[in-house]
Symmetry: C2
Subunit: 591 residues, 2 copies
């Protein structure tokens, strides 16, 4: 248990990181300045909301479903005023989800990480309307979306309404995956889904209240020590970044703040983390995994890897050891569920309509367009990009490349299309890079049986051979906020330049048809990932295998997140929240 006075803390901070406290001041100050800038822009485009689509018949109607990372990035990026945009979402705010684990323990205020969508929307010259409602059905045949208000006032019931669209952007995210584990939905389990879910702000608040409630109940005079131990057993299911961060935050909250207030029960607290795989944080570098596992062991967080949760009753959680097949049951005070994601029912229904019946996730092409539809886009966690295989198009590629129709491809002919091939099929570029091939000639040589020939030429079979391994490089993008945000920005850019690119297409050659694609396909840039491990320590994995663990990463994490926050308002709020916690500790009232 550490407890420093304010001055000790400050002096330690200054000693360890002489430049960093200044950083905070700069952030806050520049925040103020830029707010003034954005505030002084006058509000434009105010006009009657209802019936506006009738008034502007010429404008293309874009309907956006969802205001998470993908939807909000799209709205922020959209600058072309020739659209009439309508946003449908059950929440009227965007939540900066990576900080949700901090909300559960009171390190950051819920309101600091949310930004009202109307605030984001009203600063733009694009006409954007927001309806607080849930999309209950997508009718792709008639270009209609059915919505139900999720507000329940005293005037009338929930009336459905219909919104017509010319373009539809689906960015509804996913729901938590319970793997059909019995008892999870029915019992007192709070769903703590993956990081990028809006509805979690309320979940985070509920988790916070439950933690305090468990401590209060365990402090009551009539409770036996046996029961106290049960109540203070906190179980986290899922060893991904969210589960690990929550375990670490909870451990710090208990040891730094609650131990002082509940001195009699602090010894009885137990935190258990169940992970079905062999290691926690398995998408990270092994060094990070090992460090995190050792740190958790040292701190007394009980790490049960290779344990699958098979049942949750109202009192106990049952797990199955993967190695032995044995089933253990243990009583709990609170369970937090942070496993994978699954497709929402409304998307499942939509997939049936459009014939994507054999898939588990909605598929789009590389331009984020839903497969089989011309005017519907899907991005973020509710969809995956179905990357086209080279081998499917191999004949078309060959005939497009073989300009002199000689039946063989020369190096010169190949070089003329290779840029387009790499753009259309990013796995080719990846394959060349991973196999340390500097140019297309290496690839051609590899499949050319007769290496002695001066002029390397390939026939169709040779090309097939050359590309035979390439498609193995394909992999799906992770379901993260980073991907969703980049997709939103990409799509907004496409919409902004729709007419322009219609005339002057900038994309790669269409191998099966004439001409070029209008846009370049979406390409994801990975900027690295953080995993806060508690105790002012954060693991960072940056591109190029650069791994960093410790306090400097913590400060890097603070800086990156502060700069990524959606508005200067939220930025300033989060920074003051951190400062408040630094000075006063976390709050432990039941609010």
């Amino acid at each position: 248990m550490r407890s420093f006075s304010f001055f000790e803390r400050v002096s330690r901070a200054f000693h360890d990181y002489p430049s960093l406290p200044k950083l905070i001041v700069i952030f806050t100050a520049s925040g103020g300045g830029l707010v003034a800038y954005s505030d002084s822009k006058s509000y434009q485009g105010a006009k009657s909301v209802v019936g506006s689509s009738e008034a502007d018949n010429k404008k293309k109607r874009v309907v956006v479903l969802g205001t998470g990372w993908a939807g909000t990035s799209f709205l922020k990026g959209l600058k072309n005023s020739s659209y009439d945009v309508q946003v449908v979402s059950p929440r009227n705010y965007f939540a900066f989800t990576p900080l949700l684990p901090s909300v559960t323990c009171g390190t950051v205020e819920p309101r600091s990480i949310v930004e009202p969508i109307r605030n984001i929307v009203r600063k733009k010259n694009v006409e954007i309307h927001f309806w607080e409602a849930e999309c209950v059905k997508i009718d792709a045949k008639n270009n209609k979306v059915y919505c139900r208000p999720n507000l329940d006032t005293n005037l009338n019931g929930k009336e459905e309404f219909v919104v017509d669209y010319d373009y539809l952007v689906i960015a509804m995210g996913a729901r938590v995956n319970t793997f059909n584990t019995p008892g999870v939905v029915e019992n007192f389990v709070y769903f703590y889904m993956k990081m990028h879910y809006m509805q979690e702000v309320e979940d985070a608040q509920a988790i916070r209240r439950t933690v305090i409630d468990c401590f209060e109940k365990a402090s009551l005079p009539t409770v036996s020590d046996e029961e106290r131990k049960k109540m203070l057993h906190f179980v986290i299911v899922g060893g991904g970044p969210t589960g690990v961060e929550f375990s670490a935050e909870l451990h710090d909250f208990v040891n730094e703040d609650l131990a002082k207030l509940y001195p009699t029960v602090k010894e009885l607290v137990k935190i258990t983390l169940f992970e079905a795989g062999d290691h926690i944080l398995n998408m990270f570098d092994k060094r990070i995994t090992t460090f995190a596992e050792k740190k958790f062991q040292r701190e007394g967080i009980d790490l049960k890897t290779g344990s699958m949760v098979v049942k949750v009753s109202d009192k106990e959680i049952s797990t199955k050891e993967r190695s032995s097949g044995e089933i253990f049951s243990v009583p709990y005070g609170m369970v937090v569920w942070s496993t994978g994601i699954a497709t929402r029912p409304v998307i499942m229904d939509f997939m049936k309509q459009i014939g994507q019946t054999n898939r588990r996730v909605l598929a789009t092409d590389e331009w984020l367009r839903v497969e089989g539809l011309k005017n519907v886009y899907a991005l973020g966690d509710c969809a995956t990009i179905n990357q086209r295989k080279v081998m499917e198009d191999i004949s078309a590629i060959f005939s497009k490349a073989d300009t002199d129709k000689s039946g063989t491809l020369t190096v010169k002919e190949f070089e003329e299309v290779i840029a387009d091939i790499c753009e259309r099929y990013p796995q080719v570029e990846l394959y060349l890079k991973n196999n340390r091939m500097s140019s297309i000639v290496d690839l051609m040589k590899q499949s050319n049986v007769d290496n002695t020939k001066e002029s390397v030429e390939l026939d169709i079979e040779g090309l097939k051979l050359a590309f035979s391994e390439v498609d193995s490089q394909m992999k799906n993008l992770p379901a993260t906020a980073q991907v969703a945000a980049q997709q939103g920005t990409y799509l907004a850019d496409c919409f902004n330049r729709m007419e322009e690119c219609e005339k002057n297409p900038e994309g790669p050659i269409r191998f099966r048809e004439e001409g070029r694609h209008r846009f370049r396909p979406f390409r994801y840039k990975h900027f690295g990932q953080f995993a806060p491990l508690g105790g002012e320590q954060t693991a960072a994995q940056l591109p190029g295998d650069w791994v960093s663990i410790g306090r400097s990463s913590q400060w890097l994490w603070y800086s990156v997140y502060a700069s990524k926050l959606v508005s200067w308002r939220t930025r300033a709020l989060v920074i003051t929240d951190w400062t408040r916690r630094f000075i006063f500790g976390r709050d432990s009232s039941g609010i």
Copy 2:
């Protein structure tokens, strides 16, 4: 609609009040310093909670019910380590209730105005235990209190437990008074009780969400203008300081913040304030009432004085005009109820037990002791002081004062006891003051029929005549936070010096018995009252009829409230909240 950029706001503020922005900085800075001070005190007195009362048999067991203004002031003031204190309250925090109207509109964060009771308690050398439970029954005969935990975890149901006491301090506050208006409890009415209720923090949050919900619902495309008007009709019942402050805050919230985000519906908003009396703020000076009424009229807040609410249905609120007897009904979107207070059921039951059956409120003597019981105290809103009448004790006073048993009182004899009389019966002092009598001789002369006599003497009938008007000066103390806090501090002081004063009593003479009272009776000091009226204007009524309305009062209000906040933590939080609002406006997300 006013909308200034940040720089305009700052420069205006500097121009109008050159010294005030500095004030904030000083507050914050000194806050930090003192936090360090309070944090560095080490935690003492940690020992096993359960069974502690068995271990220390010698210590007197004090049980405190409630953690509002009265209970918390008592706990903060208690310094004598010879008590074993147990606190029972359904909330584990103290709420700074005067800022609740600010919470409803997002000006201040809920968490900024609450302080965990365990935080207040753990800094003291007195042994204080806290149970998060509700007192369901007081058994004064057996010195027991029955409590029920209000937590509902998954382990076991709500188990009652019993706490024994030697002294009981009842500080449970009151409940809202609905005057049995039909429909109030059943319908979608949020209870917004008088300022000093703990449970209101959650009510304030609910009100906030409802306001945003009404705006979101009114913005939906399918809603008719008629329905929009209904949804955006906000009704406040009760024209006391809370109702008036909430109306003003709501008006500002709508016009300064929501109007920008919901431009299409802002014209349809209507705020109505119903008050059964002839004027709002009727406990304030007439100048303030007139100013507030004019301001509300100018701003378009519909003020309906002389209107009693007779019924609330799920869609309409019905009022009766006091003058004409007519009944009007009007549809509403939200009703906020802020009328008087009533006694809690558990206190009513307790009053039956101890024979206080013909009263509406629990009565105590001037030492805050419940009438008829020796070891039970009641303070704050759940009790009133039953000031003893002079006329009841007039014979005893006469015989005590008539030291020579001559049957008449001389000036000298009277002067010897008048200080004790004034202390025991404060109405005497008030009467002398209000009738501009400089000394007791004036009072004696008044009732002395024969004014010509040199030596003023009074027999028993003369004394009765002299004191006949005095008891009319008695009045009950208002049910405010100020009174409750002063009572808590007073009682803590009594408990701190219990043994000392047992030996050397410092109170006035006991006229009916021998000796003196142990303590001086409780005496309330009025420090004035604020009524924030919105638009950065506040009315202040300070002692000595000093009335101030305007921006300077607003800053005075800020300063007083900042200095009154319970801890340096809440102080800093509220000040940063104000600063945030000043810069960024209020938040309008549905969180």
